[in-house]
Symmetry: C2
Subunit: 878 residues, 2 copies
């Protein structure tokens, strides 16, 4: 439990070069905000009703009824606006437009590059300059623009949405600024022709759209103010994001469920389907209206034969694609993480890149575009083709290599790019796969809005094509034995490969559905399903998914999955993993206990028990609440009060006869005290001033709760002064200072004495916000069930009780430990299968832990709480 | 809260003609069983380990290492058997075989009917007899066989699986007998050619397979003994059921999720996909091996053109299909329920049908097959075709009616059946739709294993075809305006119609995926999605889904969905709906309190609080536990003990000098008492003997917990005798009687006095099973959140606490009331939109309630608890 605070500190300190970073504040802000909004909503509805009544009374004589009718109609219309389906239609429409416009702009950008490159065919060097400068400029602009406007827009967005849907509030993540940065940044990044995708960012953009639309529509009143409804809408938005990106409504819904949810509410299903279908429909209708297409069809339509799509004997080849894709997918995730960690660890590179923030994207782009330069190395890897063109050619119906002889290859259009006079088509494909593989892994680390799905999809298709072409060369007349010759269709293999590799990287099965919707053909369903499942089986046992990997890199709060059939998990119980030494406060404790508890622990919430003997759990209190209780008790206003009271008593003692109405005066004082107690509520939570400004970046303005390090672990002898420093710095108590008509004439010694006295008083919990029903588990609850409950309810910690008595606590951390296999149960170390292989990838977390300890020691030795500014500046310079 | 008991009684009394009926015992049995199995598993593993050690010591001299190695390998293999994927592969394989064999048998049955019918073409009357007798015999056999072997096998199975996956244990529902009854019953029922489906039953069969396989594999040890794992496996099995029925793995997974879950664990996703894919694969491979197919393709392959599947301007027609299907689907559900309720309510019909149990199926079959007799009325509705043939012809590529002239219709094969010399093809289609509609609604009420999906699917396809043919007749040259003529494809409309109507009836969107997988073409994705969503929107606002309707008819425990955008729900809080008058017991209460609480309430569990003043919730205790506590206290053994003790005391008083070792004797007595207390555990729960016999039908043997009516609400004056009657009838106390060496010489008056005395003692909760962490809510929890938590965790009730103090309780019933709109919040009656329309269907529940009250009054007036045998005999005769 003790490491919880340091985890959080790590979240604050750890600089992330490649990605933005967020601080957690599990649901607290959301709940307060919801409560506030609910109240204001009620107030509004009341005022509306009274307005109607006013109208009724005012216009009684004239056409009153008519007016009331109008008002009612208006109200009816407005209430209809509040219905889900209108929101979903608007969301779908908006996202379809955004998707189409982004695609259109990307197409123009890519055309412009081609035009430039084509126009300069007289001079290779100029051609090279044009080929290279164009993407470098675009990517640099994208990176710079995003960095300046909203660093949160960097990266895919799916990991963050997964975290948000788990109940964590990531500040600044769903603002208009981020929306603008993401859309423009994405357009430029993809327009550069780098191997980047639009799927992940579109999930984020759709969520942004939903959040903004929700905010906009709440102007009309209604229910846009409910926390759980917002979560539901965000889940639907994720589906829309994928749906309108690929015109794949079903695959979109499934993919978004798989990558963002752990438990999915089936009642929310229709929302996703509705919005995604509408969005995909509009997206394709726009293409028809723009005369790109004759009617609504698939994005990458294939024309494989229907009557005999594949032979039963080809299935082993498909299985091979699946297994190889599984290894490839795991390798991709590993490579991606390795690059990020390598750059982070190399202090020299790191410091240099910190200073020149845009250098890294520019360098990577330069490298990639140099290698794809068509007259150069690009000629061996179809470097001329854009991502879309490559995919279209890879999914092509025809066989490129008949009996190994490249001459029979009927090259039309873009397919020509795969032909090289000297080099076999197989070599081209292998080079394409190998080069694109590391290029994509590298490119996705650039700090621009970008996804990795599409590049991986293309690589998978190329791999499938390679296997397919090999099969076609091996069996020129097909495998089928009875009479009819059914030649092998390498395009089908490409479809299988694309689904398998993208499924392996993202750990999803629904890529299968996405390929069907993308190609418009479902004839290869069984091979695709087999390959995807095998790829998933292999990849999931080797590496986390790309999104989970990014979540770990970004240090977002997460709960690992239980994984495939780890049946040891069924035998671990909560009592094996819980922390027995629970920090608690009793109902009749004094402020000194509170003080001690705050000094020693780092938990965000503390258990409240009836008494140390009975240990009956009554609820939990947030740390911030306790801090304000303590600051209230030791604060300057209260001390001034004390001084005043003492002065009055003094006066009374001195002039007990001369001033007969001294009693009245003392009464006044006590009244004042009572008054002060009654206003406690408003000055109570120091979190609120920060929490009410959700638009400020969390990076730059850590709030009080998020800074538990600021409680210095000084010994008790000078606690008085230390406490004063600590708690009286809060602005609320500062603000109350000027009411003092008495001067603070106490010496430090007197203050310390006074504080000691104050600390012995019993705590008054009356105005304290207590969570009366923290989640409770029993000792015998299995790990499996605990995991389920934690992920179902988005818990952060749960108390373990035995007939009402508090006996332990389990937090996400313990659970994470238990699942990831570092907890020993009955002497046996529980490890997932193939964990040794995985260790090479994740062992860095231990290093991080030791680094954290160093950091923690450094913090301890510091006297000033604001000493960690260098890390802050580091953060800013990323 | 008071109605909870009567609800349960309703469950017992209410006779269901059409379906089996089950009593609930939420998780209790499952939990006990799991605990028992876990313990035995641990014991087994310990014994295995010791065996290895034995071997080690025994064979030390010789090839000991070799032997140990063998043992280890064996253990390793056995542990591998425990892995999920092996289980899933076996399940998939088994289900594919079952599905294929069932299909094969059905095909043979249908062929036999055709052969008989064809052979007798000389005499129409003989032909009619053959045509009619054959299905009547098959259906009657199916109904009788199912009734005798396992009445649980009747009906679809999806409603029950939904209930089981919600955590309710339905006894007898997953046994081998049920498996046999379901498979054979289903084969006969479908072989009769009646409009019945195999999807629903296959979900049940797959679950049966999973349960049996799980039981079988637990022989090899492993983790087949975990409750939550079993639930996960059942969910996967449901997917397999749909997947192997239609060779539709993706659609199967999605459909099973939609119809059985409210919250779906994404981590369980792969299980369904894996097993369903494997199963579908094997199912289709069997067809290839059987030379039915050349390679693996879709079940109902279509050959629509790929390049221009439909025009944008055809979309309104698709939307019309969707909306009409929505109304049609709601009508179907309504009609189905109406038929069941009509037959139940008509006392005369009911009584007659009760006596002749097999008459109803025979009559229905006679009616349906008479109407489809091909030379008779069947000629106007393609009565000759089986369900499969109709579907194949309906999905046909070609247009039947070109410009309204039937002559151009190129009839080949089965399509000929749609042609009639006198009648237009449109009339045939309309007749087919209308007749099949009510026939299917009627046929699915027959008490045989049967589903409604396939008939509805066919009707939907016919409706789509009708619209398509009309469009083709209206626009003979297609709608497309630019140059090329693209004629309209009515087969595409049939696909859309099939998906829309089946989606409307089942309230699912995944029927869209199922049609793609069934037809092997995804080109109509947008029309299908649009139609399915519109159909769902309409149907969901009018009627519950067919499965929910059956759940209500069968009175299975359920929780209604929150529905589409009822935003009033967001403003209701738990405090608005909770029951404030909670029955509780305190930690230091006496047995009299226990007695009173048991007499007045009907709750299955009671809250345990610290004291009536503090009201701090400590846990909850089951009613049965309290009953045994009380019976323990007032039971005969304890009274005999008392008599013995009294006799000893008497003796002691009489011969205080003559017998110096009387102290020893009294010590012996107290030892005996202690002994008796220590064996309390074994004689403790009267539920267990019943609970350990899960193989007996719940209908015939109501257990003690399920019979709360047996506590007579007699006044307190004769409570002694009443209590004796009540509690001493349990077999455990009976068995202990013969140890009495003292005779029971107490008079009734003395017994009453003694009981009064016993009742004043304080309750000893030491041996009582207390649930230490019942689920708690706070008063401000919203209805929305409460619903989520209830459905997430499968709760039955939750306590409402405020800082540990119990202030209320919410059960499923209150929640159901609040959601279904009979709770008024702030003066406004909250009702779902279009509720008035829905009322006509569900108002019968009120009638049922009044009937229940009558029943309850009758029960009250009865003296003997076993008086309700007539209702039992009613049940048996159904």
């Amino acid at each position: 439990m003790a490491g919880d605070g340091s985890d959080q500190r790590a979240l604050q300190y750890e600089q992330t070069l490649m990605y933005g970073r967020y601080t957690q504040e599990l649901g607290v802000y959301a709940k307060e905000e919801a409560a506030r909004l609910r109240e204001s909503g009620q107030r509004r509805s009341v005022s509306e009703r009274s307005r109607t009544l006013d109208l009724l009374e005012y216009d009684k004589g004239r056409c009153a009824k008519c007016r009331i009718c109008t008002v009612r109609c208006q109200k009816f219309l407005i209430s209809r606006v509040g219905e889900d389906w209108i929101f979903l239609i608007l969301l779908g429409l908006l996202m379809a437009l955004v998707s189409w416009v982004v695609d259109f702009c990307i197409a123009i950008c890519l055309q412009a590059q081609k035009w430039m490159y084509g126009g300069l065919d007289s001079n290779v060097f100029l051609q090279y300059l044009a080929w290279v400068t164009y993407p470098v400029v675009l990517i640099t602009f994208s990176a710079g623009f995003t960095q300046i406007l909203a660093p949160q827009a960097v990266g895919s967005g799916i990991p963050e949405m997964k975290t948000i849907l788990r109940g964590v509030v990531l500040k600044e993540y769903l603002t208009f600024k981020t929306f603008v940065a993401k859309v423009i940044g994405l357009t430029c990044a993809l327009g550069s022709g780098m191997p980047l995708g639009k799927e992940g960012p579109f999930v984020h953009i759709a969520s942004l759209c939903a959040a903004l639309l929700s905010k906009f529509m709440s102007l009309f009143g209604g229910i846009y103010e409910n926390e759980s409804r917002n979560i539901e809408m965000l889940a639907a938005a994720c589906a829309v994001g994928v749906g309108c990106c690929f015109a794949a409504p079903i695959g979109g819904v499934l993919f978004s469920i798989e990558v963002t949810s752990t438990f999915f509410a089936v009642r929310n299903y229709w929302r996703g389907f509705f919005a995604a279908t509408f969005s995909a429909f509009i997206f394709r209708v726009l293409a028809v209206w723009n005369r790109d297409e004759e009617t609504i069809t698939a994005l990458f339509k294939t024309r494989f034969r229907l009557d005999f799509p594949f032979d039963l004997q080809e299935l082993p080849a498909f299985a091979v694609i699946g297994i190889a894709s599984g290894f490839g997918g795991a390798l991709f995730v590993y490579l991606n993480r390795l690059i990020v960690q390598f750059i982070r660890k190399q202090k020299a590179i790191n410091r240099f890149l910190m200073k020149k923030r845009l250098l890294y994207p520019a360098l990577v782009t330069l490298l990639v575009s140099t290698l794809t330069f068509p007259p150069g190395f690009g000629q061996f890897m179809a470097g001329k083709l854009t991502q879309k063109e490559s995919l279209v050619t890879l999914l092509d119906n025809r066989t490129w290599a008949k009996q190994g002889i490249a001459e029979e290859f009927d090259y039309i259009g873009h397919s020509q790019a795969w032909k090289h006079p000297q080099v076999n088509v197989f070599v081209t494909l292998v080079l394409f796969i190998v080069m694109k593989f590391w290029m994509s892994a590298l490119a996705t680390t650039i700090p621009v809005p970008c996804g990795a799905f599409m590049p991986v999809f293309v690589i998978g298709a190329a791999f499938g094509r390679l296997v397919g072409e090999s099969m076609a060369a091996w069996f020129p007349d097909g495998i089928h034995t009875d009479g009819t010759i059914y030649p092998i269709v390498p395009g089908g293999y490409a479809v299988v490969g694309a689904a398998a590799l993208s499924g392996a990287v993202t750990h999803t099965v629904s890529t299968a559905v996405i390929v069907f919707e993308l190609t418009g053909q479902i004839s290869h369903i069984l091979p695709v399903m087999i390959a995807v499942i095998l790829a998933n089986a292999v990849a999931q046992s080797l590496q986390p998914s790309l999104y989970d990997s990014i979540i770990r890199i970004k240090k977002l709060p997460y709960l690992p999955e239980l994984g495939w059939g780890h049946h040891e998990k069924y035998n671990i119980r909560v009592e094996d993993i819980m922390v027995r030494d629970v920090r608690y406060i009793t109902l009749n404790c004094c402020y000194r206990d509170l003080h001690n508890v705050l000094l020693t622990g780092h938990l965000k919430t503390l258990a409240l028990v009836e008494s140390a003997e009975s240990m009956i759990l009554l609820g939990s209190i947030e740390r911030a609440q306790l801090q304000s209780l303590l600051s209230q008790q030791l604060g300057r206003p209260r001390r001034l009060e004390y001084i005043r009271e003492r002065a009055v008593a003094e006066k009374k003692r001195l002039s007990i006869v001369s001033n007969p109405d001294s009693e009245d005066s003392s009464q006044r004082v006590s009244q004042e005290v009572r008054f002060q107690i009654s206003t406690e509520e408003s000055t109570f939570s120091p979190v609120r001033p920060v929490a009410q400004k959700p638009l400020k970046p969390a990076l730059k303005r850590p709030s009080v709760v998020e800074r538990p390090t600021e409680i210095p672990t000084s010994p008790n002898d000078n606690s008085g002064i230390a406490l004063k420093n600590l708690f009286c710095a809060s602005p609320d108590t500062e603000g109350l200072e000027d009411d003092g008509d008495v001067e603070d004439d106490m010496t430090i010694r007197e203050i310390a004495e006074w504080e000691e006295m104050q600390l012995d008083e019993q705590v008054n919990f009356n105005n304290c916000k207590i969570d009366p029903a923290p989640f409770q588990l029993v000792e015998r609850t299995s790990l499996h069930k605990t995991h389920t409950i934690f992920s179902l309810l988005g818990l952060d910690h749960a108390y373990v009780t035995s007939i009402g008595r508090l006996i332990g606590v389990v937090s996400l951390k313990e659970l994470r430990k238990a699942i990831e296999g570092s907890v020993t149960v009955k002497g046996v170390k529980v490890r997932p299968p193939l964990a040794s292989f995985r260790d090479s990838g994740t062992s860095s977390s231990e290093n991080e832990a030791t680094e954290l300890h160093k950091l923690w020691d450094r913090h301890k030795s510091m006297s000033l709480p604001r000493e960690h500014t260098p890390s802050e500046s580091d953060e800013k310079s990323q």
